[in-house]
Each structure stands twice: as structure tokens, then as C-alpha cells.
Symmetry: C2
Subunit: 226 residues, 2 copies
């Protein structure tokens, strides 16, 4: 149930830092011996090898992994790793970084579930900082890992969560926790925005809540209680 | 009231595309003759010159500009441009890209109002795609320029807007427009999250609204009507 991080460059190390903070299990594949020392220093689980190679991916446990993150230095290497990963585990979730804009559709066609281009994203964020500065602040503050103010959080439900079958109103999400449910992502992938108070919570729903840090944590626990 | 974009590299061209779509006025400073042709092709206002040079910034109208965006290829060039810009117009808004993580605090100390690191942002987004995929979808969908579904939008008020002095409830934002005001950024910079229905709208407030595309547009117009 772990993630395989292919490449420990700048992006790779940032992703590992976030995953480690959230205690999500992962293993890094890195071939550059100069970088291995940094992995040692961080104390991360890693293996020395080439992520474009079947053997490295198999050793990293791709058959039982939850996802592969391709953050190698070129789009060509990422593309190759996506194809190899799909061959070894057809159902695995694949996330890839994309350097050149033209590569995006190729990486998706090769089987990546999601492609992220740091330059494109950075450019859009910089434009947002100019055109919609308050909205930019709102997103930055609410999506921070530890916000002292309002926080947005995604809440999965446990299989036997007590709130399954109850309406948002009956679950007293607004009344007892002061939270707004801005959207619900259904198991099918469908997204319901701004759900009405009468919406009945179903198994597999992921609630996206907005509220005070402590209230979010309090309700997060309720979602997991049978 | 324009923006000066220093550098028409990858980030620079993405920012210009966003600004052009929103019809925000800007002028680009670029020194590389190979890139000038692309600026010609796009039909953007530009001047050939070095953005670290006082003369280029003065020619680009820095004394009357609203902001400077530093997206030159190195942190050193961006730092130099920030310092020069502050000298020429102390009150100007400065946004800078940052390449190396260690440069961030230097760029801020030099006078940048906001610094964006594409790698850091990309890494955080990739971690979010793994750890909080529904929240990532929510943000991507709602912050898109043209969303066919729910949209988040920042709404400034005109000086003489009819809704100034009314409460959120009295302005019927929820009742008539189906919008949720998730936050309000005050003129002072203070952010009020999840404001109560009794909150009285003040001059200079920027409302951050969440709702259906057409409702957002409808209410946006109301904010501008005396
Ligand atoms: Ca708090
Ligand atoms: Ca619509």
C-alpha cells in the first residue's frame, strides 16, 4: 500500500518531505550515487537503481504498490517509466511531472492518471497573484498542512462510519462543528458541489470540509468512528 | 495601471497568456533577440532591453505601473530587478519567481511582495494529488478561468456599490444567488473566514464567493452597481 517515487531530484525530495510529514509509506528509486547520500541523511527507504528498468520497479514492490510518482529529470524517462509501470501493474495509479508543455498529452496517453507541469502551474499561480490576490491567499491559507486559521480538508469515511446514511443536516456538520461541506466526491468520481442540507451521505463519499482547524480534526475523527 | 513582465521565458509567456485572456494591460521587457519574434507573433506590447537596467524599467513606465513581475532566468537577475524597481517606485507591487529554495527569503528581503517557487509549488501539488485527490480536483475545477461547474471567484466592490452597508443576509447572496461567501479580505489585509450572515459589507472588502458559474457572474455585476 506504498508509493514508489522515481527520482530524488528537486521535485522528488519535496514530495518525499510532504509524504513523510503525513506518514504515508514510500520508497524512492534513484540511480545517481551523489544523491544516495542525501537519501541516507534523510533516513528515507530507497533503492539504488534505474526507475526506467523493470527490475528496479519490481524490487520496489510495484505489484502491490498503491501508486507510482514519476519525477525523473526528462519527459522521455518519465514516459518510459509510465509504460513500464503499466505493464507490471495495469491498475496502478500513476502521477507524472511534465517538463515541456507538448509532452503532457503523451504522458497521459502512455497511462499517467494525472500530469503536473510545475512551470504551467507556477505561471497560472503568478497570474492569480496579480489578478485575484485575495483568492490566492484564501487557497494558500486553507490548503496549508497546518493552518492556524481556516482549513480545507478532504475526509474519507471508514467503511462502517456512523454517519453513512445520515443527511448532512442530521449529522449536524454545520450546527455542531461549524463546518461547511463545499463538495463531495462520490466513489464513482462524480463531484457534487455545494450539497444541500438534505444530502444523504453514502459509503465511499469523500467530504471536502472547510472550517476551523480544531473543528476539522474533531469531525475527521467522527468520520472514522463506527 | 499596467504590469511590467520582466522576461519572456516559459513562465513569462504563461503569465502573459493569462493576463491577455483577462484583458489586463501589460508590457514585456526581453533582451534575447531570438525571443522577440515570439512576442511579435503574439502581438504583445514589449520593449527590447535588459530588465535589470534602470532605463528599461523607466521606458516600460515603472513610475506609473501597478506591478512588476520578475521572471528572469536566474534568482540573481530577479533580485537585481527587485532592488532597481523599488528604487524607482517604492510603492510598487513586486511578484518574483524563485528558482532555488534558499533564495526565497533574499528575494523577499530585497522587497518582493510575493515569491513563487514553481518547483516547491509543483512538489506540494504532486503530494496533494496523492494524499488529497478530491481536494485537488475541487481546487483545480473551481479556480479554472472558465469552469462549467462550480467556480470560486474574487469579487471586488465598486466604491459606490449598492451592497456596501448591507449584511450578507440582506444582500440575499445565498438566497437569490445560491452563493457561499467563504471568506472576505478586508482593505487592511485581514481575512475573515466563513463570515456570519449578519456580517455587514464594508468599502474595500473583497468577497470570495463559491457558486455556479452563471450565478457568480450575475452577482459580480451587482457588486459593481451603485
Ligand atoms: Ca483555529
Ligand atoms: Ca453551470
Amino acid at each position: 500500500n506504498h508509493y514508489i517515487i522515481c527520482g530524488f531530484g528537486r521535485m522528488g525530495s519535496l514530495i518525499c518531505r510532504e509524504l513523510a510529514e503525513e506518514k504515508a509509506p514510500f520508497v524512492v528509486i534513484e540511480k545517481n550515487p551523489d544523491i544516495i547520500q542525501r537519501l541516507e541523511d534523510e533516513g528515507y527507504v530507497y533503492l539504488k537503481g534505474d526507475a526506467t528498468d523493470d527490475k528496479s520497479l519490481l524490487r520496489a514492490g510495484i505489484r502491490r504498490a498503491q501508486g507510482v510518482v514519476c519525477v525523473l529529470s526528462t519527459d522521455a524517462e518519465n514516459l518510459y517509466t509510465i509504460l513500464t509501470s503499466k505493464e507490471l501493474n495495469a491498475g496502478i495509479y500513476i502521477l507524472s511531472r511534465c517538463e515541456e508543455e507538448v509532452s503532457e498529452h503523451r504522458l497521459l496517453r502512455a497511462g499517467a492518471d494525472r500530469v503536473i507541469s510545475p512551470y504551467k502551474m507556477g505561471g497560472m499561480r503568478m497570474a492569480m497573484a496579480i489578478l485575484k490576490p485575495a483568492m490566492m491567499d484564501f487557497i494558500e491559507i486553507t490548503t496549508r498542512r497546518q493552518s492556524l486559521e481556516l482549513r480545507m480538508e478532504e475526509m474519507p469515511l471508514s467503511e462502517d462510519s456512523a454517519i453513512i446514511g445520515r443527511s448532512l443536516e442530521a449529522a449536524e456538520i454545520r450546527k455542531s462543528y461549524g463546518l461547511i461541506i463545499v463538495a463531495i466526491k462520490k466513489d464513482s468520481g462524480k463531484m457534487i458541489f455545494n450539497p444541500p442540507a438534505g444530502y444523504v451521505i453514502e459509503k465511499g463519499d469523500r467530504l471536502i470540509a472547510l472550517g476551523e482547524d480544531e473543528d476539522v480534526n474533531r469531525f475527521n475523527q467522527v468520520c472514522m468512528v463506527p
